[in-house]
């Protein structure tokens, strides 16, 4: 077990706070689409920001801590909502790391977020089919993949703004 410096701990705490706030704000903006549960995925900006800087472990910690904390805030149930949130988050993290490692310097946060958003929804649809065995998710894939493409572009652009330091100080 490596020793985590106080500075790192504080920084991770701050990122967790940012991710949680983004997740809550995300919940305030339900997109009025006739497809259930499509969100922008603003909290993934933090994940992509960390993954983009090759801080994979920090990103994983933030993802797990955010999903657990957010479900506690919403009154923990451990039900399908939690399983889907955690599954989506982990699938998203896994693919993000793979894509980031494979695409060293020919990738921007936009491409990373596109892959991440798609991985997120793919993991959730797969899990959904496992949870509700009698539901055929087949016809839902094109809808959710399209939604993931659009939301991935949005969060990817936001992450690129953050990385490029247009509005923010470049050193933490």
């Amino acid at each position: 077990m490596t020793v985590v410096s106080p500075r790192r701990t504080v920084e991770l705490g701050l990122w967790l706070t940012v991710a949680l706030i983004l997740q809550v704000v995300d919940g305030w903006l339900p997109l009025p689409l006739p497809v259930p549960g499509v969100k922008l995925g603003l909290a993934n900006i933090v994940t992509q920001y960390l993954v983009y800087q090759h801080r994979y472990r920090a990103a994983l910690i933030i993802v797990v801590a955010r999903v657990v904390t957010a479900s506690l805030l919403a009154g923990f149930s451990g039900g399908p909502a939690f399983v889907l949130a955690m599954g989506g988050g982990l699938g998203c993290w896994l693919i993000s790391v793979a894509v980031r490692r494979a695409g060293r310097d020919w990738l921007s946060p936009v491409g990373l977020s596109l892959a991440a958003a798609t991985a997120h929804i793919a993991a959730q649809l797969w899990l959904f089919e496992q949870l509700f065995a009698r539901v055929d998710t087949g016809p839902l894939w094109p809808l959710y993949l399209t939604a993931a493409f659009v939301t991935g572009l949005v969060t990817g652009t936001a992450t690129a703004l953050l990385i490029n330091g247009t509005f923010f100080q470049r050193r933490v």
Partner: protein
Amino acid sequence: MNRPAFPGRGEWLRLGDLIIAAGLLVLLGVSWWRTGFGLWSVTGRLIEVMDGFGTVTRYSLDHQAEYEFYGPDGQYNRVTVASGRVAITAASCPDQICVHTPAVSRAGQYLICLPNRLLIRVIGDGEDWDTVL
């Protein structure tokens, strides 16, 4: 860390992004093509509701009505059918995502309240009822 924390400015669109975007667009095209683009082309006739207990019931979309569903832990959902459309109009869930979803009316559309494990599917005319839900 030897690696600089920030790779620098200019982290915008690159070749890899275009490859990923093109790949995803191909995936999108294939998935739309495989479902035949005919999604939601059939008007719904019935709704099939699976409540928190896993009980499946069917209701007509023709009659204006309100139905109430409960789950094993006191979960509550009110489902309203009016003028051929169905919507979840009240729910005990914390996120209220299901209440914010607009009313649906076409065969193959879903309404879902994940925390309460409530699933509503719109069924059209020529569908094999045994294969759904």
